[in-house]
């Protein structure tokens, strides 16, 4: 085991997969000598050359389009949107082309592409650079969606995403990039579609993903001191959802809260809540709670920005409320 950052973990995955398979290439703006908006691809152009680490003009739509066509043709593109907010410019190529190609063609071709996107708020970048749009992607059959919460997951999921024969939307949280964690020295892959129980507990189940998992872990540590034992499920993959892991935990605890930074209305919390209502209704001892982002564009002011998404204290308070029901 070694300790590396989330950013380094991603870079290792990219580099290892590029070595393993010459059909893997990277494309995006400023991913070459600049190293990407958040430094994930730093150094890769020196290692693999400009033929495989490809800078493009600011043309998000065609980056996604070209990647789709390249994937259909047998390559394995990994593209980057500098901020996940700019996926708005890629939606047609991702949703109407990449996601549907295998289906519409009755499997004449598949689309092994990965779209990497830094998401989330907390950097004071304002409303157009701070969104969490993963719920959109989970509503598009044909896509897979992953969102690692720590370096170990970042590396293992990225390798799985690159090897997957389908378009995988890969969210990365900006605040996670410099977080540190243990990662095996040996090669490993984390299968897409499997959640992970990050912490065992008996009283309540916290379902979360991405950076919010870290907040749940801290909240759980505090809650333990007052005798509340929280089980934390890190979804890792948002689509397809690992329903079994969630349901099994809820069967045990009977109390569940879903925590995410994305805006509450229309967020993934609703989906998970609905699944539990459908499939674990009789085990529920209390209403399912969603602790999610406020229904508001992300403001610039630091204090307001923090007020818009769940903080550790909010998670603790919610857990206490949940225990009282």
């Amino acid at each position: 085991m070694k300790e590396i950052t989330y950013k380094e973990a991603l870079r290792e995955a990219l580099s290892e997969e590029m070595i393993r398979d010459e059909n893997v290439f990277l494309m995006g703006h400023d991913i070459g000598i600049y190293g990407g908006g958040f430094g994930v691809t730093e150094g890769l152009v020196l290692q693999f050359g400009e033929q495989r680490v490809i800078d493009t003009p600011i043309s998000e739509a065609i980056i996604a389009g070209l990647a789709t066509g390249a994937a259909i043709s047998g390559l394995r593109p990994v593209i980057e949107a500098m901020f996940s907010d700019f996926v708005t410019l890629m939606m047609d190529n991702i949703v109407n082309q990449a996601a549907k190609f295998s289906f519409m063609s009755a499997s004449q071709a598949c689309v092994p592409l990965v779209l990497r996107m830094p998401a989330g708020c907390g950097t004071g970048a304002g409303a157009q650079h701070s969104q969490s749009l993963e719920a959109w992607m989970c509503h598009v059959p044909g896509l897979k969606v992953v969102f690692p919460s720590n370096p170990y997951e970042a590396k293992g999921l990225m390798k799985a995403a690159i090897r997957d024969n389908n378009p995988v939307i890969f969210f990365e949280h900006k605040l996670a990039y410099s977080s540190i964690g243990y990662v095996p020295e040996d090669e490993y892959v984390i299968p897409i579609g499997q959640a992970n129980i990050m912490r065992k507990g008996n009283h309540i189940t916290m379902v979360s993903y991405g950076h919010s998992v870290q907040k749940c872990l801290m909240a759980a540590a505090h809650l333990k001191e007052i005798g509340i034992s929280a089980e934390i499920i890190d979804l890792r993959t948002l689509y397809p959802l690992d329903e079994a892991t969630i349901i099994n935990s809820v069967k045990k605890t009977g109390r569940v809260m879903i925590v995410h930074e994305a805006v509450k209305t229309g967020g993934l919390g609703g989906e998970i809540s609905a699944i539990l209502s459908e499939k674990a209704f009789s085990y529920l001892k209390a209403p399912i709670l969603r602790i999610a982002g406020k229904d508001v564009p992300i403001p610039f002011s630091k204090t307001l920005e923090e007020a818009c998404v769940p903080q550790i204290q909010d998670i603790e308070n919610a857990a206490k409320r949940l225990m009282r029901r």
């Binding site: 390559l75 109407n96 024969n165």
Partner: protein, 321 residues
């Protein structure tokens, strides 16, 4: 490869196939025998088929919503084409695609597209792969005049230009995007002019003259194949049929305008050329027409007698293993 007599005859055969097929489709839609909608390329056969015939093994093409002519040009079997339009499991796309998504990868056909300009990304990607693996192939990216007003067109031409990708942007300028004449959708008179903005060469040709289409496209393909980067071809032609099956009134154009273009019918023109140059006599042409008609009738029967796809096909194709 120069245009041999044999090739001209094949070209004629394909153009007739497309025409008779589409006339049949038109009839079947009028009689509500088919679900969905369709976009006919009647009047544009020289463009689509002349262009496709310049391609060779390993080359690829992305098609538009108005794709039957292009499909035939690329060698799609009418049986499977029709079966797809009937939504049958024997169709090219097993009934999942329909008219706007006809695809036939083994013939280099990367699929028609329901999104105007939607083929641009696919074309660039396929060309990128050729470039990446240093293959001497090209991608023909079919576009309508209307598609050149989409933002993706701009991004695609610029990127293809700077990355030197082997793409032939083949614009079938049929003068309309649904109801909008090109004189209303752009201030430049030739779409070819747009290529300059990317340092891309362009060619403007008479899209109703099959011989011209073939020869000029052939040298353009050659240019691209030799590694000179992309090229844009503007093929001036005309959509004689309505935009789609819903376009009945056609208030946006005059009958005179349509008639003037009907007079330039590409099939008639090729016929005249063939006869004048003694490539075939009128007996032989008639025979081709008869044989093609028989084939299409047979294909309709094949399609009608095929089975509907069963519901379990749905989950089979969403994700690849």
């Amino acid at each position: 490869m120069s245009l041999t007599n044999e090739k001209i005859t094949i070209m004629y055969n394909k153009m007739v196939t497309a025409r008779l097929l589409e006339e049949m489709l038109h009839e079947m839609f009028s009689e509500h025998m088919l679900h969905g909608t369709t976009h006919l390329g009647i009047g544009q056969e020289a463009s689509g088929i002349g262009a496709c015939m310049t391609l060779r093994d390993g080359d690829k093409a992305t098609l538009t919503h108005r794709n039957h002519v292009q499909c035939i040009g690329l060698g799609m079997n009418v049986k499977y084409l029709l079966a797809e339009m009937f939504g049958k499991e024997t169709g090219t796309n097993s009934g999942l695609g329909g008219s706007m998504h006809l695809m036939d990868l083994k013939n280099g056909n990367l699929g028609a597209n329901g999104i105007v300009g939607g083929g641009l990304g696919l074309a660039l990607g396929a060309a990128f792969k050729m470039h990446y693996h240093k293959e001497e192939n090209v991608v023909m990216c079919f576009l309508g005049d209307g598609a050149t007003n989409e933002g993706l067109f701009h991004e695609a031409l610029n990127l293809a230009s700077i990355k030197n990708l082997p793409v032939v942007f083949f614009v079938e300028n049929n003068h309309y995007a649904v109801s909008m004449n090109t004189s209303r959708s752009m201030k430049v008179t030739d779409i070819g002019q747009r290529a300059n903005a990317y340092g891309i060469r362009s060619i403007i040709l008479d899209g109703n003259d099959a011989i011209d289409v073939y020869n000029m496209t052939f040298s353009a393909v050659q240019y691209v194949r030799e590694g000179n980067g992309p090229i844009l071809i503007e093929s001036k032609t005309y959509r004689v049929a309505g935009h789609s099956k819903s376009d009945v009134k056609q208030l946006y154009r005059s009958q005179e305008e349509v008639d003037a273009w009907v007079a330039k019918d590409p099939i008639k023109r090729l016929e005249e050329y063939i006869l004048k140059n003694n490539i075939a006599n009128s007996e032989m042409l008639k025979e081709i027409n008869t044989r093609v008609m028989d084939e299409i009738r047979e294909a309709v029967l094949f399609a009608q007698n095929s089975l509907d796809p069963s519901a379990d096909i749905l989950n089979k194709h969403i994700y690849a293993k």
